[in-house]
């Protein structure tokens, strides 16, 4: 019991005392995953909306593809981005490997299909309701897609949060392209993996607490936002 309790107490002291090293890791995690989610939304939401309302050859194939890519293994994404950014790779000259930027790129690739697929679902549902009215008013398909994205803004927050949840919790991609360098690219998940294997359980546990709290808090906010939107806009 002693061996289990002691790390717990130390972990709590780290969290409560706002340990500087701990804070740095948490902030880097948030920064990387928020930036990746933002990029994924900017790219993925228009793609999802166009997949929902568009009519072009290959649309079905793309829908299946994006649905399938929701389950992309993070280590494979990490490996691909590693190859792209390594010195000999096509984007090697930018020297991005083992930087937070590389981690943002990898997570954005991981999350974009999730955001696109979930957006497509939301927009397709409202498209079936709005289609005739929007066409009657003379909206082009592109305009309709933009309108439905705006109209679905509260439901789409769920898509963004699902993407963020995936980004902040994954370890494989950031480990490979970030390199888990202390003070530079070490995020919550990679630190947990490393410290656990080194036997430093307090730091790992403290980060585990924070990670779970962040994910729960974000979902609570999303739930509250949707409830408010439902009451306020119908």
């Amino acid at each position: 019991m002693h061996e289990f309790n002691e790390p717990l107490i130390t972990a709590w002291q780290l969290v409560a005392g706002a340990d500087a090293r701990l804070a740095g890791i948490v902030l880097l995690s948030l920064r990387v995953s928020l930036a990746a989610t933002l990029i994924a939304c900017v790219i993925g939401m228009p793609i999802g909306a166009l997949l929902a309302v568009g009519r072009f050859p290959g649309r079905r194939t793309l829908i299946v593809l994006f649905n399938g890519l929701m389950g992309l293994p993070p280590v494979v994404v990490g490996l691909l981005v590693y190859l792209l950014l390594s010195r000999a790779g096509p984007l090697g000259q930018f020297g991005l490997l083992f930087s937070p930027e590389a981690m943002i790129i990898a997570q954005a690739i991981l999350v974009t299909p999730i955001v696109a697929a979930l957006t497509r679902q939301v927009v397709a549902d409202s498209w079936s309701e709005y289609r005739e009215q929007l066409r009657s008013l003379g909206a082009s398909r592109g305009r309709a897609a933009a309108t439905l994205l705006w109209d679905g803004r509260f439901s789409l927050s769920t898509a963004a949060l699902a993407g963020f949840g995936r980004a902040i919790a994954e370890v494989g991609a950031v480990m490979i392209v970030g390199g888990n360098i202390d003070g530079v690219t070490r995020v919550m998940t990679t630190t947990i993996a490393l410290e656990t294997s080194k036997g430093d359980l307090p730091l790992a546990l403290a980060l585990g607490f924070i990670l779970i709290t962040v994910v729960l808090a974000i979902n609570a906010v999303a739930y509250a936002l949707r409830g408010w939107a439902e009451r306020h806009w119908g």
Binding site: E129, Y130, E132, Q133, L134, R135, S136, L137, G138, A139, R143, T147, D151, R153, F154, A229, H232, W233, G234
Partner: protein
């Protein structure tokens, strides 16, 4: 009677079913109501005329192209204010923001909803939402307003209000083409009745004559069933 639309040999087949079967029709009255039993193809005919559906065969001949707007049975409101819903339609037609806003406000006033302009549209009652939809259509000043059972999901008081607005829109010069299940409403609004059954035009008669002495057995039995 100035013909504004001639329909020739119009058919629509979907999944092997003929929904509209060889319809030829000349529309010239300012206010025409399409009557017929459920599934007769009334809504489909309106959608073909409004270009929401494409016919399998046949042609629509417009002597002069008319600007159109359509109001549906269930109003579709965007998640924004009533006013912005009306502005949205105007902006799609190319109006600048200031002008669109002015017209939208006027239009909401004409349907008696200026006091609800800034309310979220989807939280309004069904009748109020339908009036916002009418304001959105009216703001575009269409030459032809098409309405697909606009009062079917409304209570009697809201129906009367919607009917009054349709009358006002007609009085402002727009042609009205609508379907309804409410025969009293058809009688009050229409000049001409087009009666269709199973995708075919059965008869086209001035309203007074249709209700007094329908020319076909199908229309006679329809009237008997609907008005016991």
């Amino acid at each position: 009677m100035n013909t504004w639309l001639s329909i020739d040999g119009l058919s629509l087949t979907e999944g092997g079913t003929r929904i509209i079967a060889d319809v030829s029709l000349t529309l010239g009255a300012q206010r025409t109501v399409v009557l017929g039993p459920n599934g007769a193809g009334k809504s489909t005919l309106l959608r073909l005329i409004h270009d929401l559906l494409h016919p399998s065969t046949g042609v629509l001949y417009w002597p002069r192209p008319l600007s159109q707007a359509m109001v549906f049975q269930r109003p579709v409101m965007l998640r924004t204010t009533a006013l912005t819903n009306v502005i949205y339609g105007l902006k799609l037609k190319g109006f600048k923001t200031g002008e669109a806003r002015r017209r939208a406000q006027e239009s909401l006033a004409r349907v008696g909803l200026e006091h609800l302009a800034l309310r979220p549209a989807r939280l309004l009652s069904g009748g109020e939402q339908q009036r916002v939809a009418l304001a959105r259509a009216w703001a575009l000043e269409p030459e032809l307003l098409i309405l697909d059972e606009p009062t079917a999901s409304l209570d009697p008081a809201s129906s009367r209000e919607v009917e009054r607005i349709i009358g006002d829109i007609a009085a402002s010069g727009a042609r009205i083409l609508m379907t309804t299940h409410n025969l009293g409403q058809a009688r009050r609004i229409a000049e001409d009745i087009v009666f269709i059954d199973r995708g075919r035009i059965v008869e086209q008669t001035p309203v007074a004559q249709f209700f007094k002495l329908p020319q076909t057995p199908a229309a006679q039995s329809f009237l008997q069933e609907e008005m016991p």
